[in-house]
């Protein structure tokens, strides 16, 4: 494994510039969906569900939706987005002719994916606050959590991108990995009704610790398991970030 350098920032700047140039076509849709989900499920279904513990269902749902859509933002960016740049536009080939190396490109893509997650987290949190759904000031720590989990999901996504044979393989990534996490990692309902073994197993899915951490901060409650959650997120991030530095070099230099 070779280290990356500060030059990753140059690639991050490129991705940022493109995003804000094409913002209207890409960004707006990515924000509207989580708002719709939050309102439809939170208010519509929440009326039938009633309270969870001592909070309204929509207040339970809001932090889960924030981190889930942060996950989607990072994952889409570093699967389809990175794959197009790599295999269809040959953007990385062009950049490799400059002082940037493969590791700089890899880190730049992952940090940009994390940035998308951070922006998504900020916007949904702001909207939740506008609907007066945010009970605690500690919720201000949710965007940093979205960024950190974005780093993790971007690393996992780019790892997958570095080994896929074709763009169609991403269907598996989303239907077998991302969507099950979205539905079963404690975003929509608490996991404590499941048998204990299932609850423990669910922590293998990287979104589960993120959802726990975000929900605690949202309510301003601190439990020891939140430290565990933070630790798990950091370990996944370091592991996948490192592996991806190696697999991207294999893919891009032959």
């Amino acid at each position: 494994m070779r280290p990356f350098s500060w030059r990753f920032y140059r690639l991050w700047q490129r991705d940022r510039d493109v995003f804000f140039r094409l913002w209207h076509s890409e960004g707006a849709g990515a924000i509207i969906e989580p708002i719709l989900v939050l309102l439809a499920f939170g208010m519509g279904m929440g009326a039938f569900i009633g309270d969870i513990g001592d909070q309204r269902y929509i207040e339970f749902l809001a932090p889960g939706i924030i981190v889930a859509y942060a996950m989607f933002a990072a994952s889409f960016e570093c699967t389809y987005g990175s794959y197009f740049r790599m295999e269809h536009h040959y953007t990385f080939d062009a950049i490799l002719a400059t002082p940037l190396n493969v590791e700089d490109i890899t880190a730049g893509e992952i940090f940009w994916g994390a940035t998308r997650a951070f922006m998504t987290g900020c916007i949904i949190l702001a909207i939740a606050a506008a609907f007066q759904l945010v009970p605690s000031f500690w919720a201000l720590l949710i965007p940093p959590v979205a960024a950190l989990s974005g780093l993790m999901f971007a690393s996992i996504a780019l790892f997958f991108t570095s080994i896929v044979p074709s763009i169609y393989t991403f269907n598996f990534f989303f239907t077998l990995f991302i969507t099950p996490m979205f539905l079963l990692s404690g975003v929509f309902f608490p996991l404590d009704r499941f048998p204990e073994i299932v609850q423990k197993l669910s922590w293998i899915a990287p979104l589960t610790p993120v959802a726990h951490l975000a929900r605690g901060l949202f309510q301003g409650e601190f439990r020891p398991e939140m430290l565990l959650a933070l630790g798990i997120i950091i370990v996944w991030t370091v592991v996948f970030f490192s592996i991806t530095l190696v697999t991207m070099r294999r893919r891009l230099t032959k």
Binding site: R14, D17, A97, P99
Partner: protein
């Protein structure tokens, strides 16, 4: 001292030796051509010299630095103009240049000023804010060349710079490359186009099956391998056999290719009385002589 020095360079893929123990010295300020058929190993050599592909064996020195140890420093003085268009389609024409300059850590004002100058010199100033897919093939190639100049390189490396261009665009590219050479920029040019090699290159290496067969100036190649003009006979099938017999009787060196017999007489008098026309020998004749006429897929 040579600005690019390559020793024992070898590139192996699974069961293929793409580049086989090559030694090269390219002098500062010259235009050096790599000439070879498809699959000869030209692109592999270029990919290794630009640090995109690690050599299986051998060393590369560029401007006094060993590439393996200092890839960033070496890439900072190279301008790479690839064969495949890899312009950034998410950016406009000028953003392609300024963004590329940023990869080289060129300060913003300098980058912008240089980008505007490059657009002017490439006759692209009217396309400044266009999208990449609005450009013609010739414009894209000019922008690719311009992008390769954004870091004011000491050496530019070009892979088939005029392939797929119409004659007007091709001549414009050639004029631009000559202009850059007159500014003292070293050029490493990889091509299959003999006319391009003969017009632009000071020296040419003919490459075949991963090896360098010979290195010389284009003129010297022709005089060394072609002692005289070439006699071309466009034969019909019924006269073919009698002409072939006559050529063999006269003990002439000849080759048949795509229905045309190319005769290489030591002296014009030796082909007297034969049908056909004389033409000047070119680098292409040398190329065919050294690499064979059979198709390489």
């Amino acid at each position: 001292m040579a600005i690019i020095r390559v020793t024992n360079l070898t590139k192996k893929f699974k069961d293929l030796v793409a580049v086989d123990d090559i030694n090269l010295e390219i002098e500062e300020g010259e235009c050096f051509g790599l000439l070879g058929p498809n699959g000869a190993g030209k692109t592999s050599i270029i990919r290794m010299i630009t640090a995109v592909s690690p050599p299986s064996r051998g060393d590369i020195w560029v401007d006094g630095r060993e590439l393996r140890k200092h890839p960033r420093e070496v890439k900072a003085i190279l301008g790479v103009i690839p064969q495949t268009d890899n312009l950034d389609e998410d950016l406009t024409v000028i953003q392609n240049l300024t963004t590329f300059a940023r990869y080289f850590a060129i300060p913003r004002e300098v980058a912008y000023q240089r980008s505007v100058e490059i657009l002017n010199s490439m006759a692209l100033e009217g396309k400044r804010d266009s999208k990449i897919d609005e450009l013609s093939g010739g414009m894209k190639r000019r922008l690719l060349i311009g992008r390769g100049l954004v870091n004011a390189p000491k050496i530019i490396i070009l892979d088939e710079p005029s392939i797929g261009l119409d004659p007007q665009a091709r001549h414009m590219v050639w004029r631009k490359l000559k202009e850059l050479k007159s500014q003292g920029i070293t050029q490493l040019l990889c091509t299959q186009n003999m006319e391009e090699a003969a017009r632009l290159c000071d020296r040419v290496a003919i490459i075949h099956q991963g090896r360098i067969i010979d290195i010389d100036t284009p003129q010297a190649f022709v005089t060394r391998y072609m002692s005289n003009r070439v006699w071309e006979i466009d034969v019909t099938s019924d006269e073919r056999d009698s002409i072939m017999r006559e050529l063999e009787r006269r003990q002439l060196e000849f080759e048949e290719f795509a229905g045309i017999i190319h005769v290489f007489p030591k002296d014009d008098s030796l082909v007297e009385g034969l049908p056909g026309v004389a033409r000047a020998a070119t680098l292409e004749d040398v190329f065919f002589k050294l690499t064979g006429r059979s198709l390489v897929e």
